[in-house]
């Protein structure tokens, strides 16, 4: 007979990665997912992707600019961030991230600038007079080849960021729920769901309900990504049944012992089904499937970070995380959301995001590019 054990004395450890980490992984995931959605338009000039590409590139910019703020805030010594560059350690995925992330941001901004370049000249005439000089300086002829090169470079940097963010968690053997080669793929697929969701939401907020084609296109992307998430989840279950996955074993142990985790598992499944159902049943209400998709992408990361950290490694049971109200908790989450709203307002007002130059691969004649933007979109 197994003994009954009661833990009388132990300590509880605080979580080392705060909700800031959730915000960073959420926002950088959205940015990369959105860039991937934008690239068929901005890199290959596919005509059917142009409107989707326009809103997705804006999402990529907004979330890409907000993400590093949350990352820096998650450091307990944020003013020592330069140590990443003074003492880089190649053995650490996080150290690689310190190089990949700025490269991604730089290339994303450069790509967006090349996309907006022709329309920025127009913006100099029609936009705020205070900024007309700046827009004139930034604007100019379309540079299709440079645009494609920057798009390709941004894609490579995005893949590098995806790899480092996924591997950073997957290499941690001490946390079996992270220590699975499937986690980087899960982060990727859920980021695509979230990016499609954010694009749907911004589409409604900035464009309105009129453009049904774009909404349908984004909803198809959302459904496709959600199917990908479900497929990876099933593969994880399959590997678990084969008995070779410590990640699965720990999850099952928690599920059988902990009602909170049962609720969490049910919530995750429902959160994935909900945006798909909304996109399927209410295709005209893109904002609804968008919001639900954002909820799924965020709560998946919340579970991955905060719930997994609630499992102590040297104590019994489960030490539930209680969200503090200060900057380490709720205020950090609200603050990051506020930054995103601010960037939505600023960037959507200032950038000619609805009229991006999308060079078609087959139309490399620069003469066909700048003047035809508004007709194309």
């Amino acid at each position: 007979m197994d003994p009954t054990i009661i833990e009388m004395v132990n300590v509880s450890r605080e979580v080392a990665w705060l909700p800031w980490a959730v915000q960073y992984f959420f926002l950088i995931g959205l940015s990369i997912g959105a860039l991937l959605i934008a690239l068929p338009g901005t890199l290959f000039g596919l005509p059917r992707w142009q409107r989707v590409s326009a809103i997705a590139l804006l999402v990529a910019l907004i979330t890409g600019l907000a993400a590093p703020v949350a990352l820096l805030a998650d450091l307990h010594q944020p003013f020592r961030f330069y140590h990443f560059y003074l003492y880089p350690q190649t053995s650490s995925w996080m150290a690689w991230g310190a190089f990949f992330l700025p490269a991604y941001m730089l290339l994303l901004v450069m790509h967006a600038w090349l996309v907006y370049r022709p329309a920025l000249s127009e913006q100099a005439e029609t936009g705020p007079r205070l900024l007309s000089g700046l827009f004139r300086r930034l604007g100019g002829e379309a540079r299709p080849r440079l645009q494609q090169a920057s798009g390709l470079a941004a894609l490579l940097a995005a893949l590098a960021v995806l790899t480092y963010t996924g591997m950073e968690l997957a290499v941690v053997a001490a946390r079996p729920l992270w220590h699975t080669p499937l986690l980087p793929w899960q982060l990727f697929a859920t980021a695509l769901v979230g990016a499609a969701g954010m694009a749907l939401l911004l589409q409604r907020l900035l464009v309105g309900a009129g453009d049904a084609d774009t909404v349908r296109h984004l909803q198809r992307l959302l459904i496709g990504s959600a199917i990908g998430v479900a497929a990876i989840g099933l593969l994880w279950l399959f590997l678990g049944f084969s008995g070779t996955s410590p990640s699965y074993q720990q999850a099952i142990t928690q599920l059988t012992r902990n009602p909170g985790w049962q609720l969490n598992a049910a919530w995750t499944a429902l959160a994935l089904v909900a945006p798909v159902a909304a996109a399927w049943l209410l295709p005209r209400h893109g904002w609804l499937s968008g919001l639900l998709a954002l909820h799924f992408a965020w709560m998946f990361r919340w579970s991955v970070f905060m719930d997994v950290q609630s499992l102590p490694k040297a104590a019994a049971g489960y030490q539930p995380y209680v969200l503090p109200f200060g900057t380490d908790g709720l205020l950090g989450i609200v603050g990051t959301a506020g930054l995103v709203v601010f960037l939505v307002l600023i960037l959507s007002s200032l950038l000619p995001w609805q009229r991006p130059a999308l060079p078609a691969l087959s139309h490399h004649d620069p003469a066909t590019l700048p003047g035809h933007r508004s007709e194309e979109v």
């Binding site: 009661i6 132990n10 001490a174």
Partner: protein
């Protein structure tokens, strides 16, 4: 505590020699083999008094609500008999420490003597090492806002003293010393032990805190009911 006295006299000798002939002392020190510090905890002798926990806090100025070592204590009921089980925990100063390679800025490393240390002036407080430690032996020190952990009291060991937890152990359950010293108390106790165990051997970290009397139920995840939640949890 033969090793303590010997270490102490040896270091006192080096200090005395230093006053007379520093180069000679340096040459003697260079000729000495590198120690491999380790700890053996005889669980049969631990009475769960937490003297080690408290002395560590005092010795190392560990902030409130943080611990570099603690004696986890369990009530074990089996076949009508109820026992207490005490398991002191601390950093295992692994030979293959998973906390070291993940550090993005090289702020943590294993000394030649095996003690795993943190440079809290370089540490950025990213918490990655805290995640990577399978023993929950690291934490963020909120006074320095950097990673913190047991150092094997290297500042004491280097001057011939024992770690504070060893020095204060009432039952003599903790034995500290140099694995490379064949006649040392640690080596002798380990050679005499019938069975030596480490925590979470499956992690491949090669811990250098060894246990006598470590039951398999306690070597990894402990399937126990946390007493603080006992009122809410359903009794099995």
């Amino acid at each position: 505590m033969k090793i303590n006295r010997r270490s102490f006299l040896k270091s006192a000798g080096v200090l005395a020699a230093g006053t007379a002939s520093a180069p000679a002392a340096a040459a003697e020190a260079a000729a000495e083999p590198t120690p491999r510090w380790a700890m053996l905890i005889d669980l049969r002798k631990c009475i769960g008094c937490q003297a080690c926990t408290v002395s560590c806090i005092h010795e190392n100025a560990v902030p409130e609500d943080s611990y570099r070592t603690v004696v986890t204590t369990y009530e074990v009921a089996s076949e009508g008999r109820v026992d207490a089980y005490m398991l002191p925990r601390l950093c295992n100063h692994c030979a293959n420490p998973p906390c070291v390679p993940v550090c993005p800025v090289g702020a943590t490393w294993a000394e030649p003597g095996g003690a795993v240390l943190v440079d809290n002036e370089r540490c950025v407080g990213c918490g990655y090492c805290v995640q990577a430690c399978p023993y929950d032996a690291r934490f963020i020190n909120h006074e320095t806002q950097t990673a913190d952990k047991c150092t094997f009291c290297l500042h004491r060991v280097e001057v011939g003293l024992l770690p504070a937890c060893v020095e204060s152990c009432v039952g003599g359950a903790r034995i500290f010393g140099d694995l490379n010293e064949p006649d040392g108390d640690l080596r002798r106790a380990m050679d005499e032990a019938e069975s030596l165990k480490v925590l979470r051997p499956e992690q491949g970290t090669a811990p250098h805190v060894f246990y006598i009397g470590l039951e398999p139920e306690f070597a990894g995840d402990v399937d126990a009911e946390p007493v603080l939640w006992a009122a809410r949890a359903e009794r099995r």
